[in-house]
Each structure stands twice: as structure tokens, then as C-alpha cells.
């Protein structure tokens, strides 16, 4: 399984993980060996098999649509990196 630096940079960008140049090189080797191991699953004949997303055969339970949560904004924002007036602060997006 051949992976190149460009692919690693593209994936890292999709995942929003910043990689230093030498770090990207290390992940090329790691991802190649992981994907080579993963490729072994292609030896299994799965024709006609339906993919399984959830191991237990139960349907999603429903409940009455009632408000059960109280407003806990202050508690939830107490650990945020930066807030003001109940809003989360980020660098300016729109000039």
C-alpha cells in the first residue's frame, strides 16, 4: 500500500490536524504499514454480505418529545477556552 506525502497532507487537512514536515514523513511509514495490515481483510469473501453497523438487533427507542434538560449554559461554558456574553469566542471569520 503506497502512500505519499501529498496524500498524508490531504488527509491531515481533512482531519484538521496540523503536521510539521518531519511529522508528515513519519506518518507515511505508519499509515503504509497499518494499511498493509488492513488489506488482509480483502482475502475474506464477503460477496452477498450486508454490512453490519451495530452488533445488537434492536431498533432505536423513541420517547415523548418533552423538554427534560434545564439551561446549563454557564456550567458548560465554565471550561471553555474563551467566552463572552454567553458566546464562544474564535478569531474573526468575516471581515
Amino acid at each position: 500500500m503506497a502512500i505519499d506525502a501529498e496524500q498524508v497532507r490531504r488527509i491531515a487537512h481533512l482531519a484538521r490536524i496540523g503536521l510539521a514536515a518531519d511529522e508528515a514523513d513519519r506518518y507515511i511509514d505508519d499509515l503504509e504499514s497499518i494499511l498493509t495490515m488492513v488489506e488482509r481483510m480483502h482475502a475474506v469473501d464477503t460477496s452477498g454480505v450486508t454490512p453490519l453497523a451495530h452488533p445488537i438487533d434492536v431498533s432505536q427507542p423513541l420517547r415523548p418529545d418533552r423538554v427534560t434538560e434545564s439551561d446549563q449554559r454557564d456550567a458548560y461554558q465554565a471550561d471553555a477556552p474563551a467566552v463572552a456574553n454567553g458566546f464562544y469566542l474564535v478569531p474573526r471569520v468575516v471581515e
Partner: protein, 485 residues
């Protein structure tokens, strides 16, 4: 210091007879934690509140005492708990304080348990050695140059070192059973949906499950009685009757059928592990159980399928750590994009990044069918093979790990070698079935574990089998540093 009981059952008897108070027990645990700091089993120690909870337990009227009243327990630092930080072993959450308690924390507290603190773990539960924690590696109390296993590394080390009689872990691909095997403990991964995942920091949501770790099956039954049951806040928890696991322990195992999977035993297994499985088989035969071969032809494809599915789910779950609402934020971000990139780059360790990148790759355009869907198809084959086997047997006996605990640093440079550690534990997670690891021997001063796997919601029978095994053997009575080891 006189020897205090080191099991929950022993401690409960000492409390009931009035021989000890919860304050005595908790003080002794705190002293052992202090003395064992070099093992790095804990991320946070909650001494003050633990002593208050112990005093409250001692003063509680008998009629109000729950089944765990006054008993000290530690929890993996993946469970949200108010009043103490919850880190998941990550720099990302180094200072994070959860605004609520996980359901299992609530249930333990309501049962009277005294929570001593949060145990160390591989970052976001990604690891098989305990070496991936931002707070440093945990050491194995049986041999401090060896790993305790992971990802519930601190929970295993804390119990094995006698710091606490029991601890909670989580198991996504073996993270309760593998450290239990490496540290000479009994550990149970319940059926997916048996125990609420609410307030448990998510790694791979279709695989994660919380469970107990202790010296013996009786203690696991006591804890599972409290932990199990439906929770409306976790829509994947299943509304299935919770039996009294303690009451079910002593039933005879005569006539039960135990499957031996030749496909799994054909894998690369260390000779001592193979011998431990064989010796365990003989114990069960002597107890009147019958051993029959079962076929699990796709089980060995579990590792490659898991290392697509778990990273794929992780890449989605860990998208929430964006430096905006909680957790680490980089200094002086120049733009929103810069904030995301640097906060995540700084906040996550190497293994977490590796899995996010693997999962993102597997889910990206052009690879989804070949990786993610193929892995989900293998998942169905593995589950269906287990269900077919359980039409003919009550449980399956298998190794827990390919070898005893390996040396610290031995596998840190080779992620795939580390992943292959999970070959015997992963199939149960993919199938959603319960599985228990229990001590079954020793080699070179290190414990060996064997695993019992059962059908969905078959925890009771696994505990019953393990209890019968432990009545007939003494592997679970060995302690680090004792002559018996």
C-alpha cells in the same frame, strides 16, 4: 500495617462485622496509592472527598446502605465526574472539568461506593500498553519493567498493586481484558448495551463498553449488579432484564458446554499461553463441563476490520475537540483554521493522530467501499459465526492475549505489532458479545490470562463459569511480590 482485605467481598465482610470502618479502608488505600506513585496508576487522586464519602458511608443507617456501601473503587479517567478533572489521558483535556457525572459514576455513588480517583490510561483509550498517556506510562506491579496492558492501564495496575480492591475500565478492542490478563486480574467486558455509555468519553461508539476489573468473578458480579441496566440518556443501552449476578455465581457448571475455537488457537500464540488454555480446559472438564470444538473461521480477520472501523468512528468522535468549546486551545490563533489545526496538533498525541488519520483515510472518497464497507461485512460474518457457535455451546474458551506482558518500550516503534496484541479480544467487541478474562497461570513472574466469551447478555454464565473455576484453582489468589507468585 496488618494485611487488610484486598477484595471487595473481603472488605464488605470486614465492614459488615464492624472489624473495619470505611475510613480505615480508604485511608489504607490512600496510603498504598501514595507508596506506589512510581507506578503512575492515577492521574488524579480525590483523597479529601473520598475520606468524606467514607465517613458518610460509616454513618449511614443500615437501612440506607447500598450494596457497595463504604467500598473503595477507582475509575478510569474516561468517565466524566464532577469535582475532579477528566482527562482521557490526553493533553487535550489536561485541565477539563466535566459538568456532569457519567451514569456509571452516579450508580456507583448511589450504591455507596467511595470513589478514590481517576486512573491513568492510553490517550482516549487508544493503546494496548498504557504507554500512550500524556501523563506518562503506567508500570506493571508484577514487574515494573513491563507494561500493565492498556488502555485501562491504571485501573489494572491500581488493583494489582493493592491500592484499591476494584476499578472500572472500558473495553473497545480489549482494553479491560488485556490489562486484566497482564496484571493477574479478572475483568469483564459486558455485552454492548448492557452498561450505559453516557458520560464515558467516546472512542468508537459502536464498540465501546464499560466494565469492572477486580481479583475475582464474585467482585465483578457485585459491580455489574450496580452498573448494568438501561439508561434513557444512552439510546444504545438495551432494556433487557438485569439478573442478580451474585445470586447466579454458585450454580453448578456440570453439563455446560464450552467451545474451543481451533481457528483462534491456530494463531500466533506463545506456548505458555497455549498451555494455560489447555490447563483451564481440563479444570472445566473436571468440573463436569464438556468441551466441544467450535468454528470461527473469520475471527482472525477481526484485527484488520477493527483497525478500519474503530479509527473511522474515532475520527468522527474526536472532531468535537476543536479548541472552541472545551479542551486545549493553541496560543494566539491567527485564524479559525489555524486555531483548529494547532489546537488539535498540540492537544493530541502520536497514536491518536495516527488513528484519526487512518480513519479519515478509510472514510475518504474512493476508499469507503474498499475499507469501511468491507470491514462492516467482516463484522457481520464474525458476529454470525459467534451466534451460530452459541447455538451449540454456553461459552467459548480462548486466550486473552498472545503472550504475557511485554517490556516497556518493546513495541512503541511498531504500531502494527501493538495492534496485533488485540487479536483475541477484538472479535467480542465486533460481535457485541460479553467476554471475561481471568488469571490462569504464571510465566517468569508474570500472570497469564484466559478468556471466556458468551452470547449477548450471557454475562451471568461467564461469571458462573469463572466463579466455579476460581473455586477449583488459586491463580486469582496470587499477588505481586508474594511467595506464591
Amino acid at each position: 500495617m496488618t494485611a487488610l482485605p484486598d477484595t471487595l467481598g473481603g472488605a464488605a465482610r470486614a465492614l459488615a462485622s464492624g472489624e473495619l470502618s470505611s475510613r480505615d479502608l480508604v485511608s489504607s488505600c490512600l496510603a498504598r496509592i501514595e507508596a506506589g506513585q512510581h507506578l503512575n496508576a492515577f492521574v488524579s487522586i480525590d483523597a479529601e472527598r473520598a475520606l468524606e464519602a467514607a465517613a458518610a458511608a460509616d454513618n449511614r443507617p443500615a437501612a440506607d446502605r447500598g450494596p457497595l456501601n463504604g467500598l473503595p473503587i477507582a475509575v478510569k479517567d474516561i468517565f466524566c465526574q464532577t469535582g475532579v478533572r477528566t482527562t482521557a489521558g490526553s493533553r487535550m483535556l489536561e485541565h477539563w472539568r466535566a459538568p456532569y457525572d457519567a451514569t456509571v459514576i452516579e450508580r456507583l455513588a448511589a450504591a455507596g461506593a467511595v470513589l478514590l480517583g481517576k486512573t491513568n490510561m492510553d490517550e482516549f483509550a487508544m493503546g494496548s500498553s498504557g504507554e500512550n498517556s500524556y501523563f506518562g506510562a503506567t508500570r506493571n506491579p508484577w514487574n515494573e519493567n513491563h507494561v500493565p496492558g492498556g488502555s485501562s492501564s491504571g485501573s489494572a495496575a491500581a488493583v494489582a498493586a493493592g491500592m484499591v480492591p476494584a476499578a472500572l475500565g472500558t473495553d473497545t478492542g480489549g482494553s479491560i481484558r488485556q490489562p486484566a490478563a497482564f496484571c493477574g486480574l479478572t475483568g469483564l467486558k459486558p455485552t454492548y448495551g448492557r452498561v450505559s455509555r453516557w458520560g464515558m468519553i467516546a472512542f468508537a461508539s459502536s464498540l465501546d463498553q464499560a466494565g469492572p476489573m477486580a481479583w475475582d468473578a464474585a467482585d465483578l458480579a457485585l459491580l455489574l449488579n450496580v452498573m448494568a441496566g438501561v439508561d434513557h440518556r444512552d439510546s444504545t443501552s438495551v432494556d433487557e432484564i438485569v439478573p442478580d449476578y451474585t445470586a447466579g455465581l454458585t450454580a453448578s457448571v456440570r453439563g455446560l458446554r464450552i467451545g474451543l475455537p481451533g481457528d483462534l488457537l491456530g494463531a500466533d500464540v506463545n506456548a505458555e499461553v497455549r498451555a494455560a488454555v489447555d490447563a483451564s480446559r481440563k479444570v472445566f472438564e473436571s468440573l463436569g463441563a464438556s468441551i466441544v470444538p467450535v468454528s470461527l473461521p473469520t475471527a482472525l480477520a477481526g484485527v484488520p476490520a477493527y483497525y478500519v472501523l474503530a479509527p473511522a468512528e474515532a475520527s468522527a468522535n474526536l472532531a468535537r475537540f476543536d479548541g472552541v468549546r472545551f479542551g486545549h486551545r493553541c496560543a494566539d490563533p491567527q485564524s479559525l483554521e489555524d486555531l483548529y489545526l494547532r489546537s488539535r496538533s498540540e492537544g493530541f498525541g502520536a497514536e491518536v493522530k495516527r488513528r484519526i488519520l487512518t480513519g479519515t483515510y478509510a472514510l475518504s472518497v474512493g476508499y469507503y467501499d474498499a475499507y469501511y464497507l468491507q470491514a462492516q461485512k467482516i463484522r457481520r460474518l464474525i458476529r454470525d459465526e459467534f451466534l451460530a457457535a452459541f447455538r451449540n455451546v454456553d461459552a467459548i474458551l480462548a486466550p486473552t492475549t498472545p503472550s504475557p506482558a511485554f517490556a516497556l518500550g518493546e513495541k512503541t516503534d511498531d504500531p502494527v505489532a501493538m495492534y496485533l496484541q488485540d487479536v483475541f479480544t477484538i472479535p467480542a467487541n465486533l460481535a457485541g458479545i460479553p467476554a471475561l478474562s481471568m488469571p490462569a497461570g504464571m510465566t517468569d513472574g508474570l500472570p497469564l490470562g484466559v478468556q471466556l466469551l458468551g452470547p449477548h447478555f450471557g454475562e451471568g454464565k461467564l461469571l458462573q463459569l469463572a466463579y466455579a473455576f476460581q473455586q477449583a484453582t488459586d491463580h486469582h489468589l496470587r499477588r505481586p511480590g508474594s511467595a506464591a507468585a
